[in-house]
């Protein structure tokens, strides 16, 4: 096993010298997992995720991970990492698109079982018709699973968010899974400059007994769970027990906010927020929005940018305050349904100001001109 020194998360994230590498998003996953002190990873192929878990397999072969195998399908893989997490080890996996849908039943199960699993999602379209192209529609299906959802703009975000996700997920008062999302192909298959910490340091190991629920190892109490189980009973105590558990899970996500602020510098990032016209985006739509805003500036039009990094917990208060004076908030998205604009409409005053588009889907790229024409339209009004 390669020699790696355990360092404090703060040292890994801020103080450690960084080396710039010109790598793909999938390689950025490998470099994050290499430094994350992961015990076990389980893989299953699906485009555009496959390469990331090939590379995780490669570093298992090099000795950076203690156990790794290819599971039989995504539902089984998400079940296996759940079992491993219940056994008290740090786990990682990744999927995307149809794989996400195949495994969907497991995600709320992770949350309810309070498992600090980190899963990367490399988004792609969902059938039918058959598609392997980039699209963020799967995220709409995950907004209410209860897991923390972080959206990476680029390979650098992906590297940073995966490493930080473990530390956020494993806080005792949080202890729920974190999904790190990146737009398939645009991030996974393109090369970018990524600043990474030295490969000879790693995060501290997971402490299984910091979990707020018993680890399934017969080394910690209680062994006897209940005499008169409330499960599947039709009485008020049963309903109340389930309801309060669900509320506690929501509260756990709320308690993640300070850690997201501490490690990611906030749930959002803003530029030029005084402008009348704002653009709110997540993932690679942020890059396209930056481009459009720069083009607008050349035409003498000012527009501001809000990059959303955390979708769950949702930065509702931040967005309500930031958009209070805006004439319009343009929400470009890589999906048909416009889930981000729906989210924004739910929290802002005068939701008619939310412009639900432009949207591209089915694998299309987003020409910045599309966003620019919306900026022009609302700047003129």
């Amino acid at each position: 096993m390669p020699e790696q020194k355990v360092v404090a998360p703060e040292f890994m994230f801020t103080e450690a010298a960084r080396e710039e590498q010109f790598i793909t998003g999938s390689e950025a996953v490998r470099e994050a997992v290499r430094r994350a002190n992961v015990d076990m990873a389980v893989s299953y192929p699906i485009t555009p995720q496959s390469e990331s878990m090939h590379l995780v397999g490669d570093i298992w072969a090099e000795g950076y991970i203690k156990d790794y195998y290819r599971g039989e399908n995504e539902f089984a893989v998400m079940s296996a990492v759940a079992g491993a997490a219940m056994g008290g080890v740090r786990v990682f996996t990744a999927t995307g698109g149809p794989g996400t849908m195949r495994a969907l039943e497991m995600f709320p199960t992770w949350v309810g079982a309070r498992l600090p699993i980190v899963c990367a999602f490399f988004t792609r379209g969902i059938n039918s018709p058959l598609t392997i192209q980039p699209d963020t529609i799967e995220m709409a299906h995950l907004l209410d699973t209860g897991m923390i959802m972080l959206h990476a703009e680029d390979a650098q975000d992906l590297y940073d968010m995966i490493l930080k996700a473990f530390i956020i997920a494993e806080q005792t008062e949080v202890h729920i899974p974190v999904g790190v999302f990146a737009d398939g192909f645009f991030v996974t298959h393109t090369r970018d400059k990524v600043r990474v910490a030295p490969a000879d340091i790693k995060l501290p190991p997971y402490k299984p007994y910091s979990a707020p629920v018993p680890v399934m190892d017969m080394e910690n109490v209680p062994f006897r769970q209940m005499r008169d189980p409330f499960v599947m009973k039709s009485n008020y105590v049963s309903y109340a027990a389930h309801a309060s558990w669900q509320q506690e899970v929501l509260a756990a996500a709320e308690r993640a906010r300070p850690f997201i602020r501490q490690y990611l510098g906030g749930l959002i990032e803003v530029e030029n927020e005084q402008a009348d016209v704002l653009v709110l985006a997540g993932g690679t739509a942020v890059c396209q929005s930056r481009e459009a805003i720069a083009m607008a500036r050349e035409e003498g039009i000012e527009a501001g940018l809000i990059k959303i990094k955390s979708l769950r917990p949702f930065p509702g208060e931040e967005l309500r305050a930031l958009t209070a004076k805006a004439k319009a908030v343009i929400v470009p998205e890589f999906n048909r349904v416009g889930w981000l604009s729906r989210e924004l409409r739910n929290v802002v005053q005068n939701p008619d100001r939310v412009v639900a588009g432009p949207r591209v889907f089915g694998g299309m790229t987003m020409p910045p001109d599309l966003i620019l024409s919306e900026i022009r339209r609302y700047a003129r009004e």
Partner: protein
């Protein structure tokens, strides 16, 4: 468990639930009890909410009394009648979803191997016939193909009992059940043979009619899974509620099926497992 986990704070001893006090004072952890000792110690299963005459409940009771080291056994279950009983056993046990039990157990077993490399942590999968042979079959078989060191037990009541008596793949051909109103159109799945061909080192089918035989199969399955490879035990557990017979007839039904060979008992052991068991069973207390 590495140290005495099960104890009471003296000041609270007089207000602790009676079954907990019994478990602390006279439980099976570290004692090496077996089926022959039933009645002399506090069993792992407390009251259960299953039907009168439930064959599955009897099998769970016998399985719990057959564990070689209950103090280091974790049970992974699935949805169904048994999921109503497992919250009441004094072992850490997992219910995740319907059908994913062998995938969950694969991850759990590997995690416990990483954390306790010098200790046997037995991961025992116990699930119904629907969970094992239908909805979870791919994950059951893939855990066998991969050679996961798991003991898998099917509680075979030959139907989806908890949802109201629907046909399962393990129902006998011709059997009239819900969702099979004109009788089941295909044969009972030959899972013991499938298990043998899929990499299981030890396979047995038993009934609760012969508790010592059931105990032997469960113990062998758990012991072989420690060192040799995956194992499978199929237990016929007649269901009076859905098959409409009297609760007191459960064992007679099982006995009848043993006798007329409609539920054949069998045992497959690979030579490697045979050699391992021969070494272990030389002077074993329960065998």
């Amino acid at each position: 468990m590495s140290k005495p986990m099960l104890k009471m704070t003296t000041a609270f001893a007089d207000v602790m639930p009676a079954e907990y006090v019994e478990l602390v004072q006279n439980g099976p952890f570290g004692k090496g009890y077996g089926v022959a000792d039933l009645g002399s110690f506090k069993e792992l299963i407390e009251e259960h909410p299953l039907c009168a005459g439930c064959g599955l409940a009897l099998a769970v009771r016998l399985i719990m009394a057959s564990l070689p080291t209950p103090e280091d056994t974790v049970v992974v279950g699935s949805t169904g009648c048994s999921s109503l009983a497992f919250p009441q056993i004094a072992l850490q046990n997992i219910h995740s979803l319907f059908g994913n039990q062998n995938a969950v157990a694969s991850g759990l077993k590997r995690a416990l191997k990483l954390r306790f490399p010098d200790k046997h942590k037995d991961v025992l999968v116990v699930a119904g016939d629907g969970a094992t042979a239908d909805i979870g079959l791919d994950m059951v078989m893939h855990s066998w193909f991969r050679g996961e060191k798991l003991a898998t037990i099917m509680l075979d009541n030959e139907a989806y009992a908890n949802t109201g008596g629907q046909e399962s793949g393990m129902s006998p051909e011709g059997c009239v059940l819900n969702m099979a109103p004109t009788g089941k159109k295909f044969k009972k799945i030959a899972l013991p043979e499938i298990a043998r061909e899929s990499g299981c080192a030890y396979v047995a089918s038993v009934t609760p009619v012969q508790p010592r035989k059931l105990e032997k199969a469960v113990r062998r399955a758990i012991l072989v899974a420690r060192e040799v490879g995956p194992t499978y035990v199929q237990i016929f557990v007649p269901c009076p509620t859905n098959f409409k017979f009297k609760p007191q007839e459960t064992l007679a039904k099982a006995k009848q099926k043993e006798k007329d060979q409609t539920y054949p008992l069998r045992e497959f052991i690979t030579p490697e497992a045979q050699a391992y068991l021969a070494a272990l069973e030389g002077g074993g207390k329960h065998d």
